[in-house]
Structures are given as structure tokens and as C-alpha cells.
């Protein structure tokens, strides 16, 4: 009889302990891929030196400069370069690149490589390298301004001469 009474008491104690606070949780993972932006734009694609005589020189072309805008959100340094596909040409006649040079200025915080004597070359030449904070320069980008100078040789053959100047942005 004693054993039966003891078992019944234990049962009631355990029945009174089951009201502890409950908690449970679940989880979900969220992801997004922010797209890369790496863009280069210029505000004008045709520069006309007009009519020039042998021996003439024109600089500061175009007068307002070509606006070159570079945008990046890669978080890495980037560089702006300039070159031309070939020297000014009219058929088989050319004006050497030694007579064609670039200049300008930057609105950015990086390094500007122009010194007033930079010749245009078929090999891309550094114009600008990004500065601190410009590895991501969104939303407005970094703006550089380019101008060109041309001297027609004294013995230049007449004709319509053209060249294609290329701006390149790289990391």
C-alpha cells in the first residue's frame, strides 16, 4: 500500500511543471546580385578642323572640349586612354601623328596625364587614372575634357584628311 501512494504523489508534481515559455524559429536566405556598371560616353563624335593651309596650326579643338564621362561601380581602379586607328589620311597621303596632339583637363580626383605635349598615337596612351573613391563613382561618373591640336606640314598634299580617335576605358 505504501508503494502505491508514493507513485501517485510523483505523478502530480511532474504534471505541474509543463508550463515553460515556448519558442521556435525558421530561417530564409535572401540574395541579390547587383549588376556591374562600366560605361564610357562622349558628347560629340565629329570634330572638323575646317580648311587649313600647309603650315597652318589649329589648337583648342573643339573650343568647349570633348566631354568624356566614365562610370564604374566595380570597386576597382580604372584608366582612360586615347589613340587613333591611323594618322590623318587622304587616300595614300597622311599627316603624321607627330603633328597631332591632345590636351585638356579633368573634373575628377585622380591623375591627369596631359602635359600639353602629348601626341596622339595608334598605341593607346594614358589620359587619366581613377583616384580615391572613384572605383565606384556612381551615379554621376567622372568627367574629363579633351582638346586637340593639328599642324599641317608645309609640304602637305591637298585633300580631305580624316582620322578616327578612340577613347578606351579599362580596369
Amino acid at each position: 500500500m505504501k508503494r502505491i501512494i508514493s507513485a501517485a504523489v510523483i505523478f502530480l508534481l511532474i504534471g505541474g511543471i509543463s508550463s515553460a515559455a515556448l519558442s521556435t524559429n525558421q530561417q530564409a536566405t535572401f540574395t541579390v546580385s547587383v549588376a556591374s556598371v562600366f560605361e564610357l560616353s562622349i558628347d560629340q563624335g565629329f570634330i572638323d578642323f575646317g580648311r587649313m593651309n600647309p603650315g597652318d596650326m589649329k589648337w583648342n579643338m573643339p573650343p568647349a572640349g570633348i566631354t568624356v564621362q566614365s562610370k564604374s561601380n566595380s570597386g576597382k581602379p580604372w584608366y582612360l586612354k586615347v589613340s587613333n586607328d591611323s594618322p590623318f589620311s587622304s587616300g595614300s597621303n597622311t599627316i603624321p601623328n607627330s603633328n597631332f596632339s591632345w590636351s585638356g583637363w579633368t573634373d575628377g580626383s585622380g591623375k591627369w596625364y596631359g602635359d600639353g605635349t602629348n601626341q596622339v598615337s595608334v598605341t593607346p596612351t594614358l589620359v587619366y587614372s581613377s583616384g580615391a573613391g572613384e572605383e565606384n563613382n556612381l551615379p554621376n561618373g567622372t568627367v574629363n575634357h579633351m582638346k586637340f591640336k593639328l599642324k599641317v606640314p608645309n609640304n602637305q598634299v591637298p585633300g580631305n584628311y580624316t582620322t578616327i580617335v578612340k577613347f578606351t576605358m579599362t580596369e
Binding site: 507513485a7 519558442s23 521556435t24 524559429n25 566595380s74
Partner: protein
């Protein structure tokens, strides 16, 4: 004498059985819908709402289903363990937002909306580590207290929205959202 001692042993065994099988309160939660949610590729400046059907006002992204078998109020919380992060880069708290679109309960078969229990019906940003009280069970406009909702449970639905800052650095950003129910 021997017979009496056997009876005692049998009686003790019966008592122990009832102690082990005694009932208590139970609270369960399941996450329904995707547990891996992807906003996909977004450009700086883009805005996207994560829902099953953006043109359907009744659509949602995912939901929790909570079942309680006791008449004690319970609360559902939601939090982001961190900001959306890619290495050392983060997307600001206000850019990643959530709201609860609908909550409803059923005991057996008949469903009732319980929007009064929803605490955030407009978009709120995920401040990192902040535990937001999303829903509180209890008295409904339509039905007596439904803290206990066995067998069908209570659903709380969620929608999420992300706006990429216009100057955000490219990368794959992740975070973990934790849903917690306490009673």
C-alpha cells in the same frame, strides 16, 4: 505473499506509464514557400517587389503557419541577422523592406482574417538584428480568442521589397531572415 507483491509491481508500472505520456502545451511553426529567395540581378537604382504575382493584390512571397494547442497568446517576430552583405559591402537597412499583407486563422475548416494582429502593414526597413513583432494572436473581430488554433493553424503572409542605391558597388549580397514564434 508472492501474489500481493506482483500486484504491487503491476500497479507501479501503470502509474509510471501515465507520467510519461502526460500532455502539455505545443507550439509549432512551418515556413511555407521558398526558404531561399532571390531578387535576381538588379542594377543600381532598380526597385523590385518579391511576391508570387506583383499584379495580384492578394499575392505574397512566403508565409509562416503557426499551430498552438493552448489558449495562451503567442507572438510572431521577423528579423534580418545582418544587412544585405557582400564581403565588406552592405546595402542600407532602409533599402530592404518588408510588410505583412495578411493573417488568418482556422480551427477546423472555417478561415477568418485577423488583420488586427498584424503589426506592420506598410513597408518597414530591416534594421540589422532588430526583432520586429510581426503578429500577435488573440481576440479577433470575428471570433473569440484564437490563441489555440489546432488543427489548421494561423497563417501570416509576407512581401519584401528591395531598392538598390544608385551608387551601389556590384556584387552578390546575402542576408538571413529569421522568423520566430514565442508563447
Amino acid at each position: 505473499m508472492r501474489l500481493f507483491s506482483e500486484q504491487n509491481r503491476i500497479l507501479s508500472a501503470v502509474i509510471i506509464f501515465f507520467m510519461l505520456s502526460g500532455t502539455g502545451s505545443a507550439l509549432t511553426m512551418t515556413l511555407q514557400g521558398n526558404s531561399s529567395l532571390d531578387f535576381g540581378t538588379m542594377a543600381p537604382g532598380d526597385n523590385k517587389q518579391l511576391t508570387t504575382n506583383p499584379s495580384d493584390s492578394y499575392a505574397y512571397c512566403n508565409k509562416i503557419s503557426v499551430v498552438s494547442n493552448v489558449d495562451t497568446q503567442w507572438n510572431a517576430y521577423i528579423k534580418a541577422d545582418s544587412l544585405l552583405t557582400s564581403g565588406t559591402l552592405t546595402i542600407p537597412a532602409d533599402s530592404f523592406q518588408w510588410l505583412s499583407t495578411y493573417a488568418g486563422f482556422s480551427k477546423t475548416g472555417n478561415w477568418y482574417a485577423h488583420t488586427n494582429g498584424i503589426r506592420y502593414r506598410t513597408y518597414t526597413g530591416f534594421a540589422s538584428g532588430t526583432n520586429y513583432l510581426a503578429y500577435t494572436s488573440g481576440t479577433s473581430d470575428l471570433d473569440p480568442a484564437v490563441n489555440d488554433n489546432i488543427t489548421d493553424g494561423t497563417e501570416v503572409q509576407f512581401i519584401y521589397m528591395l531598392t538598390i542605391p544608385t551608387d551601389q558597388t556590384a556584387g552578390l549580397y546575402t542576408t538571413r531572415i529569421v522568423y520566430t514564434v514565442t508563447q
